[in-house]
């Protein structure tokens, strides 16, 4: 573990230390309450009936037998979820994904739901619901879906972004283009050009906690929802809008969250649970099975990508072009566009063009997955970069250093970069001992870079000081990876008090203003910013109270090391007032002391990482073992380095799983064949080595402490880093993710067309 603070120019007393997390004891004793861990008096069990077809017209749903089963308290279909979206197609898409409306669009699409007194009765009721399907032709592959004559998933969709605007329905919902310069002219100047096509299969976030909620809606239109989510305020707004409820009358409480990684940023069965409860007038608990999680929540896209990169013999890229086809599942989204935006973001390119296609298929609606869309694009681009480096006889690290983006570079997606960390991460990689570790027979080394935007958004924080001087910090961003510890550190730093004096709580939606979802690596960035400002607001009040107690002008009071200090020599005999003293006196100096902040936390600052990986490939079986792995990433400023390292390691591990074994396998019938942890193979403990980390701190000018989001970027490089390592170990270029043993063995046996350098 290396924590390089040489780029930091701020002095911190508490920020940067590694105290125990406030939710630690609850989580090691089983006391912490997750989505499925609460119950309500009179609660019913809700279950959902799902389509067994990839694409079908729903001609009729007969629920009468289910309704008559003793113990069944409500049965609903889309008829119980009327369209209140007033022509907002994206909202209607959310509603339709929650419950099919006349057509099932993918295997696992919800078609009806029941609430009954127990699970056994609910299971029986599901079997009594008769659905009359007319099976329609389906398409699940992204390239197939783009072909003329492919079954149309959404008849209302016309391709956006092409001229003239098309009049016929298409599975391509959007074409986007980014870049600058003249790529054709650039390729003419190149000494070497590598052009290659790549594929990546669909993967799931694979959080260990399935979706779960407890919904309660009364006939008075008031409701409560306990739910595992990354954004309870967003869930409240979406659910209230879909169900025609008043936002203020729906209280949403976020449970402890058992992993999300983007998958818990969207609503899935929560509106259904609320509708069941409304119909039954009793609390309803809905807990997904693992199979439902795989079939019916939002995995990330499968992709098909072409990349062409040209360079001069001395190692300068003259032009780069990519065409990226991403499938978004059954509903239009922007994942292909994001792939196009991120694809070449690591490099300083004179001529660059990236074209993204968003494509509809009969698979579940795609949701965000940690730096969504970036890993696949990076896989294709970074694999090609390595091949160009080999062809011009240059070390892949040196080649990247020579072409890396820097302050003042025009990003491939448009704007000009401020201070960024790609260069330092590459230099750190070049000098890392990992680069000199010996490699044995059948072993290979690879490296790759990754980019992610990060963002901030609407944030709101309360900081209340108790009568004993301890601090209640109330935030609205769900803690997905230790942010309560980080935010407590920040509050303690600002106030000048020990970490142990701060208790951070995630508030429900009735207790705090709106907070955007914890996504885009924004938790610590944005709530950190709001916490700093809330603490400074509290300090303003504390200084006023001190001035009152001392009967001096507030301008003569400053705050230092957790105490009010009277400035000026004339006040020399006033002894400093501690936070405890001011808090104790507060009933008589104006009442409770608090600080608040509402902010739109913009200026998140982009983030870069470089990874190095060693693998060993068994040439007789294609089995691959990761034997050494190093993550180098710019954190801006690491508030709690343990949890920054944890983000780096976890993201790398997810990337390793994606690179080697994880994939959605669809049968010819369009049904998902591996909806379980047995055959959807996420890495187990014995699959991985220790994952070494190096935190760089290139301060983000957009944050008072220089923080950049750290949660996502490190899932971007692993696909490419491992592909480069495997290709070097096996002597053949791998172009299809995951590089499962059958694919690797096939490539070794059949040479995969060309040698890996070509």
């Amino acid at each position: 573990m290396n924590h390089d603070q040489s780029f930091t120019n701020q002095e911190f007393k508490i920020v940067g230390t590694r105290p125990p997390r406030p939710d630690g004891v609850d989580k090691v004793t089983g006391r912490a309450r997750y989505g499925a861990d609460v119950s309500a008096p009179g609660q019913l069990v809700g279950l959902i009936l799902r389509s067994p077809h990839a694409h079908a017209k729903i001609k009729k749903i007969d629920t009468s037998k289910a309704e008559k089963l003793p113990g069944v308290k409500a049965v609903i279909t889309s008829a119980d979820l009327p369209d209140l979206t007033k022509g907002d197609r994206s909202q209607l898409d959310i509603l339709e994904n929650c419950m099919a409306r006349g057509r099932a669009l993918y295997d696992g699409h919800a078609v009806a739901a029941v609430a009954a007194v127990d699970a056994e009765t609910a299971r029986k009721a599901l079997k009594l619901i008769k659905v009359d399907y007319q099976v329609l032709p389906h398409v699940t592959d992204v390239d197939e879906a783009m072909k003329p004559g492919a079954p149309i998933v959404q008849p209302h969709v016309r391709t956006v972004g092409v001229n003239p605007a098309p009049t016929k329905a298409s599975n391509v919902s959007q074409r986007t283009e980014f870049g600058h310069g003249d790529v054709e002219a650039g390729f003419k100047r190149a000494d070497v050009i590598v052009e290659r096509s790549y594929k990546t299969e669909q993967t799931h976030q694979g959080y260990i906690e399935p979706h779960a909620c407890l919904a309660s809606v009364g006939p008075d239109g008031q409701g409560e929802l306990w739910v595992t989510t990354q954004g309870h305020f967003t869930f409240r707004n979406v659910c209230a809008s879909l169900l025609g409820m008043d936002v203020a009358k729906l209280k949403v409480t976020s449970s402890e969250i058992g992993g999300g990684f983007g998958g818990k940023t969207h609503v899935w069965m929560e509106p259904v649970a609320l509708a069941l409860s409304r119909k039954a007038n009793r609390p309803v608990k809905v807990v997904m099975t693992r199979e439902e999680v795989f079939r019916a929540t939002g995995p990330t896209c499968s992709t098909s990508i072409d990349v062409k990169i040209g360079a001069t013999k001395d190692g300068r890229i003259t032009a780069a072009r990519a065409e990226l086809r991403y499938q978004d599942g059954a509903f239009p989204s922007i994942w292909g566009m994001l792939g196009a935006m991120t694809s070449f973001a690591c490099y300083d390119l004179e001529n660059v063009k990236a074209i993204g296609y968003d494509v509809l298929v009969n698979r579940p609606k795609v949701a965000a997955y940690r730096a969504p869309s970036a890993p696949m694009a990076a896989f294709a681009v970074e694999s090609t970069i390595d091949q160009v480096a080999v062809q011009i006889g240059m070390d892949p690290v040196d080649f990247r250093i020579k072409n890396a983006a820097k302050e003042g570079t025009r990003a491939s997606y448009g704007p000009t970069y401020g201070p960024i960390g790609i260069g330092p991460t590459l230099l750190a990689a070049k000098n890392h001992p990992h680069m000199k570790a010996p490699l044995h027979k059948n072993q290979g080394r690879g490296m790759a870079c990754g980019f992610w935007f990060n963002f901030g958004g609407q944030t709101c924080t309360d900081l209340n000081i108790g009568v004993d001087g301890t601090v209640s910090l109330t935030v609205g961003t769900v803690d997905v990876g230790g942010s309560r510890a980080s935010l407590s550190l920040i509050a303690a730093e600002e106030l000048g008090i020990p970490y142990e004096k701060v208790k951070c709580t995630v508030a429900d939606t009735a207790s705090l203003g709106h907070n955007d979802t914890t996504e885009g690596s924004r938790g610590t960035f944005s709530s950190g910013m709001a916490t700093i400002y809330a603490a400074r607001d509290a300090i303003r009040v504390l200084k006023e109270r001190a001035a009152k107690q001392w009967e001096i002008d507030v301008a003569d009071v400053t705050w230092r090391n957790g105490r009010a200090v009277a400035l000026k020599a004339e006040h020399g005999n006033l002894s400093e007032l501690t936070l405890e003293e001011l808090a104790a006196a507060s009933p008589r100096t104006g009442g409770p002391i608090a600080g608040h902040n509402e902010v739109v936390a913009d200026g998140a600052g982009v983030s870069f990482a470089t990874h190095i990986c060693d693998v060993e490939v068994d040439p007789e079986t294609g089995y691959t073992k990761v034997i050494r792995y190093t993550v180098i990433q710019d954190a801006g400023k690491a508030i709690h380095p343990d949890y920054v390292e944890g983000q780096f390691q976890g993201a790398a591990a997810q990337g390793i799983g994606w690179a080697l074994n994880e994939e959605y396998v669809y049968g010819k019938d369009g049904r998902l064949q591996n909806p379980g942890f047995l055959d959807y193979r996420i890495p187990v403990c014995s699959d991985l080595p220790f994952i070494d980390t190096q935190i760089l701190e290139i301060p983000n000018p957009g944050h008072p402490y220089g923080v950049r989001g750290v949660g996502e970027t490190s899932i971007v490089p692993p696909l490419a880093a491992i592909a480069n390592a495997v290709s070097n170990a096996a002597g053949v270029r791998l172009t299809h993710i995951p590089m499962s043993p059958p694919r690797i063995l096939n490539a070794i046996k059949n040479g995969n067309g060309k040698s890996h350098a070509a």
Binding site: L660, Q673, F677, L678, R681, S686, S740, L745, N746
Partner: protein, 285 residues
């Protein structure tokens, strides 16, 4: 669904014989409960055999071993004598699932679940293990390879249960080994597997051999020609190559979510070759 936990074999067989509708034996439950939960089966009766004392022990008999049907696989690894005599069988049994699963799963359950990819089966078949079957008409003993007749299908008649697996006393200079291929290091079902048992004659020449392959056909594949290819050799490179080739020829796998025909065929030979080398070494060659 009814749950019964009889305390004798006779009672268990009687319950199963009399059962109306579908009846299942519950040993470790690591397959049964998964199928129950997914709705693949809707049992009317589940007979838990873990309260039957004779099914809970590993005993020595005529120099060999009798492993009760309810003995969890982890207990095989804890039995030093069994491990010494039949290391391949024990390794295969211990490869099934995690530590959590090991504490529950049984080799009889692994056998009767009748999956082509069952880990313990190729090893048991190579080792010449037999199944003791109890039913309404009394007891019978059959070779392990005769229990499974197809994916999910056994030759057991209504009311019959496998009471135990028996392994003979290994002949002098005998060694067995089992290898499987999985994409991860743990927690996977075998994509392809190979069990090999060898007995050596003088000067390290293979006198007797049995080779069994898993997940390359609807049931375990007893590769007689592959065994013949190494009998009479000292397991030199040519013999190993012939073994691999014969294994490939014996494979009749399918393409599925876990592997391709091409991959399974190729790797079956690789694993048989590697397992044979381990067995040869264990036999003292």
């Amino acid at each position: 669904m009814q749950y019964a936990a009889p305390s004798t074999v006779k009672e268990a067989a009687g319950l199963l014989a009399k059962a109306k509708g579908s009846a299942f034996v519950l040993a470790g439950g690591t397959d049964l409960l998964v199928r129950l939960k997914s709705g693949l089966i809707e049992p009317d009766l589940v007979v838990d055999i873990k309260r039957i004392p004779s099914m809970q022990t590993i005993t020595r008999a005529a120099g060999g071993f009798r492993i009760g049907a309810a003995v969890p696989c982890v207990a095989l690894g804890e039995n030093a004598a069994l491990k010494k005599a039949w290391p391949g069988v024990v390794e295969a049994a211990n490869l099934i699932g995690s530590d959590q699963v090991q504490g529950r799963c049984t080799i009889v359950g692994n056998l009767c679940n009748a999956s082509p990819a069952a880990d313990s089966v190729p090893a048991m078949v190579a080792a010449g293990a037999k199944a003791q079957v109890v039913g309404p008409k009394g007891r019978r003993t059959i070779p392990v390879e005769d229990v499974v007749v197809g994916p999910g299908k056994t030759s057991l008649k209504k009311g019959e249960v496998v009471e135990a697996i028996t392994l003979g006393k290994p002949a002098p200079k005998t060694g067995d080994a089992y290898l499987r291929f999985i994409p991860r290091t743990e927690m996977d079902i075998a994509v392809v597997s190979a069990g090999v048992c060898l007995t050596l004659g003088p000067k390290g020449v293979v006198k007797k051999a049995r080779v069994a392959l898993g997940a390359v056909g609807p049931t375990v594949v007893v590769a007689t020609e592959a065994a013949d290819a190494i009998v009479g050799t000292k397991l030199d490179d040519a013999a190993l190559a012939a073994l691999a080739k014969a294994c490939e020829a014996a494979c009749k796998p399918i393409d599925d979510k876990r592997g391709t025909i091409e991959f399974r065929t190729e790797v079956a030979g690789v694993l048989a070759r590697r397992a044979a080398k381990i067995a040869y070494e264990r036999a003292g060659g």
